[in-house]
């Protein structure tokens, strides 16, 4: 009987011990801690956060998201925590997720001094979010299947019979792909955008689970080409000599390529607001953009920010002329249509 009591006591103690472990957010502002949730891949974001911690002495407690949960786990978490926020800063890989938080009224305005020379198109006009280090949508292609003469140069080329069943896009309901489609609706208008999507469907577009999956399929030769982001394309090129990428729609009258900036924002009611602002200032520096350029070929938005030669420059890319806030609103509107479009391919 004594042994049972001991066992029960041990279990209860373990339970209590674990409960007392790593308790963070009830600490006071005086404690040098900042809590950041990020949907940017841990392999890229973690070194930046570690560098901030080393420089400032402010401990960073990060929550990362995963490919498996389509990088929406942290966003749902912030929304679920709205009554009692734990997160100070949200660092997103695109403006779309930030737009959701803005719509929910979960952000507080902060105009960082380090973002002065970032073009205004990449900033919210009320300082709810600020963009930095951008990716672009590209077409990754397999050189062993497509030679120089038959590489698509426009998204409309993907409707041609030559590429039937040979190109992939990620799930149109998530991530940068959904934003890309919303941008097309913005720039082409609803009728033309729907016609394009129907044509893609008729031409046997392959739906991959994620941008990473698109990358894998192109590298392995399962498909000839696929739409993905520059960081995935960069990794693919490092991994295999058989692949390369191209920016679509760069002609004079073409619609341009979608540029997707990282965004950072301050959460309303966050427990460590001042440290949150410091982290935002750090993230929005040219120095951070240089780190991200080197690690994942993300293009700096600061003018004159030097980067390695193999990283594309925004100056040489014709961007799609969209308003990010407006595109986020369009995205919300077209989601039911995208859902039906995706399901009709099953």
């Amino acid at each position: 009987m004594k042994k049972i009591s001991l066992l029960l006591l041990s279990i209860a103690s373990l339970g209590l011990l674990s409960a007392c472990q790593s308790s963070t957010n009830h600490k006071t502002e005086a404690e040098k801690v900042v809590v950041v949730y990020t949907s940017v891949d841990q392999v890229f974001s973690e070194p930046v956060l570690q560098a901030f911690e080393k420089k400032t002495g402010i401990k960073v407690k990060a929550v990362y998201d995963t490919e498996e949960t389509k990088s929406t786990g942290v966003l749902n978490r912030i929304i679920a925590e709205k009554n009692h926020p734990r997160c100070d800063v949200f660092w997103s890989g695109d403006p779309m997720r930030t737009a959701v938080l803005k719509k929910e009224g979960l952000l507080q305005a902060y105009c960082s001094p380090t973002a002065k020379d970032i073009p205004s198109v990449f900033k919210d006009n009320k300082c709810m979010w600020t963009g930095f280090s951008a990716r672009a949508r590209v077409l990754l292609y397999n050189k062993t299947i497509l030679n120089e003469n038959n590489i698509p140069h426009s998204i409309f080329d993907l409707t041609k019979p030559t590429y039937k069943g040979q190109f992939a896009i990620a799930n149109p309901l998530f991530g940068t792909t959904t934003f890309h489609l919303a941008a097309l609706f913005d720039i082409l208008g609803e009728t033309k955008a729907k016609a394009l999507l129907d044509a893609l469907k008729q031409n046997g577009v392959v739906i991959a689970t994620s941008n990473g999956d698109v990358k894998q399929r192109v590298v392995s030769g399962e498909v000839a080409c696929g739409l993905t982001d520059t960081d995935d394309a960069f990794e693919a090129v490092k991994e295999s000599k058989d692949v390369s990428y191209v920016f679509l729609d760069q002609g004079d009258s073409a619609i341009g390529t979608l540029i997707i900036p990282n965004t950072v924002c301050l959460i309303k009611g966050s427990p460590h607001t001042e440290y949150g602002k410091k982290l935002i200032d750090y993230l929005l520096q040219c120095r951070t953009e240089q780190i991200l350029a080197k690690s994942c070929a993300q293009m700096p938005l600061h003018k004159g920010c030097e980067v390695p030669k193999n990283v594309p420059s925004l100056d040489k890319i014709k961007p799609m002329a969209i308003d990010y806030d407006k595109t986020a609103k369009i995205l919300e509107k077209i989601q039911p249509y995208l859902e039906q479009w995706e399901k009709s391919m099953q």
Partner: protein, 519 residues
């Protein structure tokens, strides 16, 4: 069998109440908060794709559960009741898929498909079925195999007087354990219809992926929660059949006579059967795993040291967390099974099923919403929330495993002890624990494996700054070279195997100390 009108022990009732408060109330809170109404259900059925989606989900569930249980029962019989070559080792080798997340199985199957130029093997309905079949086959083998092993010897001998051994094997050994077979079908059905990662990876739309989409893409919580209720309802229908069946054919199959004598079914074609069993293992288990790790082995495992250094802090935390959670899982599972079998109090079991069937993302949101207030800080910001999550999610499995074995123990063994003056906890310690020690161990390692590799729930609720293995591996997977990914998966696989081996040795040592022999 069992006391219908007996008073439930207060300690067990207390555990039941604690479970309700900590785990069920958050889910109920979410349901009331999202304001469920019949409209959301109607909305689902108005979607023209929904009936096909629902049908696909049910077909996957039944196909996987039936196929897995049929094959698993046959394998269970041969592994646990015949003397094929190296059956002891093969029993352990068949458990390997349990050490890997079904998502990883899907990646392995895809690689096999590419290697064999068989695209229909993956990115399709058959790919989903094949992956889930391999992932859950070990469960079916263990559940049915142990039941076959525990069949009363006299029952088989009585039949042997009238029929040759192969007929005895079918009519008595296998058919008298229909409860175990049906339990296997029910459990695997629930796993299959709740599975998100495999259908998502294979690009097949099912109810679980649709729920996820509505949560994660559209932030339409109400609709998603309504669909979750539908999913839970599906699982309950299966459980209803399971419960009815057990009630109708309540029985003992464990003989009271000496079972130390091994009564195996001798095989005329032992070589052929051994060849088939080993061959199946090589094709279904070894080949996909080797394909998965092929590049790694080709590169002389050079990435392993780098990966180990990166993952070690996460491994440490995850192992401790999973071990703690497993203790709670076994305790809750035991209490639920005991109340169900001994006192006919089945509510706890049904509640465990309900929580198990709730999709991880919904459960995660429920925990955040409930504990997200300032009073819940001590739980929310600590590992306690993860322990609560894993306990809630996997206690059902422990309850099922323990319940199936408890039914096979003569209640009079407990009644005699009670008459002798032993109170409940003494009877548990002196009577039930020794009799159930193998399945308690099995429940513990099952709880450990599932908690250790649980991703969806972990990513929803893990405290900021905490380093946990599933999150670390999957976040790094997004953008690292293939060889690095393979190295990470190999490390995870090896660590799980190593921990299980340590637990196994501790268990054998404990048996030895108690003067018992491992069978």
């Amino acid at each position: 069998m069992g006391k219908k009108h007996a008073v439930i022990p207060y300690s067990f009732l207390a555990i039941f109440v604690v479970f309700i408060l900590f785990i069920v109330v958050p889910i109920a809170y979410l349901l009331t908060e999202t304001g469920q109404s019949i409209n959301y259900f109607v909305q689902s059925f108005q979607d023209s794709f929904f009936p096909a989606l629902l049908l696909r989900t049910i077909i996957i569930g039944f196909t996987v559960s039936l196929l897995t249980t049929i094959v698993g029962s046959l394998l269970g019989f041969f592994l646990y009741r015949t003397s094929i070559f190296a059956s002891g080792i093969l029993k352990l080798l068949w458990i390997i898929p349990l050490l890997l997340s079904p998502y990883i199985e899907a990646v392995a199957i895809k690689k096999v498909g590419i290697l064999l130029s068989m695209p229909h093997l993956f990115y399709s309905f058959s790919g989903v079925v094949l992956t889930l079949f391999i992932a859950y086959l070990p469960l079916a083998i263990v559940i049915t195999g142990i039941a076959f092993y525990n069949t009363g010897r006299n029952l088989e001998e009585a039949a042997y007087l009238n029929a040759p051994k192969y007929k005895v094997a079918w009519k008595i050994t296998i058919l008298s354990n229909k409860h175990a077979i049906f339990s296997s079908i029910a459990l695997i059905f629930i796993f299959s219809v709740s599975s998100f990662s495999v259908p998502s990876y294979m690009g097949v739309n099912v109810l679980a992926t649709d729920i996820f989409t509505h949560f994660a893409a559209f932030y339409n919580y109400n609709y998603a929660v309504a669909q979750s209720i539908l999913l839970v309802f599906l699982c309950f229908l299966i459980l209803l059949g399971d419960t009815k069946y057990i009630e109708k054919t309540a029985f003992f199959t464990k003989s009271n006579t000496n079972t130390n004598r091994f009564y195996g079914f001798s095989l005329k074609n032992k070589i052929v059967v051994s060849f088939v069993l080993w061959g199946l293992w090589l094709i279904l288990i070894a080949f996909p795993i080797v394909t998965l790790f092929f590049n790694l082995f080709n590169n002389n495992l050079s990435e392993l040291f780098t990966v180990w250094h990166i993952l070690f802090p996460a491994i440490k935390q995850s192992v401790i967390l999973a071990l703690i959670a497993s203790v709670f899982i076994v305790v809750i599972g035991y209490v639920s099974a005991f109340l169900s079998i001994r006192y006919h109090f089945k509510l706890f079991d049904k509640i465990l099923l309900f929580v198990f069937a709730v999709p991880s993302i919904v459960f995660g949101i429920a925990l955040i919403r409930f504990y997200g207030f300032s009073w819940g800080e001590i739980i929310y910001s600590s590992t306690a929330i993860l322990i609560i999550g894993y306990t809630g999610k996997y206690s059902f499995i422990a309850s099922k495993i323990l319940g199936t074995s408890m039914q096979q123990i003569n209640i009079s063994l407990d009644e005699v002890a009670e008459l002798s003056g032993a109170k409940l906890w003494k009877r548990i310690y002196y009577i039930w624990l020794p009799l159930l020690s193998p399945v308690i161990f099995l429940s513990f390692i099952t709880g450990f494996i599932f908690s250790f590799k649980e991703l969806s729930l972990t990513v929803m609720v893990y405290p900021p700054g905490m380093n946990l293995l599933p999150v670390k591996v999957y976040t790094l997977m997004a953008n690292t070279p293939r060889i690095f990914i393979e190295a990470m998966l190999f490390v995870v696989f090896s660590v799980t195997l190593f921990i299980l081996a340590i637990m196994w040795m501790i268990y054998i040592w404990w048996l030895h100390k108690k003067g018992r022999v491992y069978k």
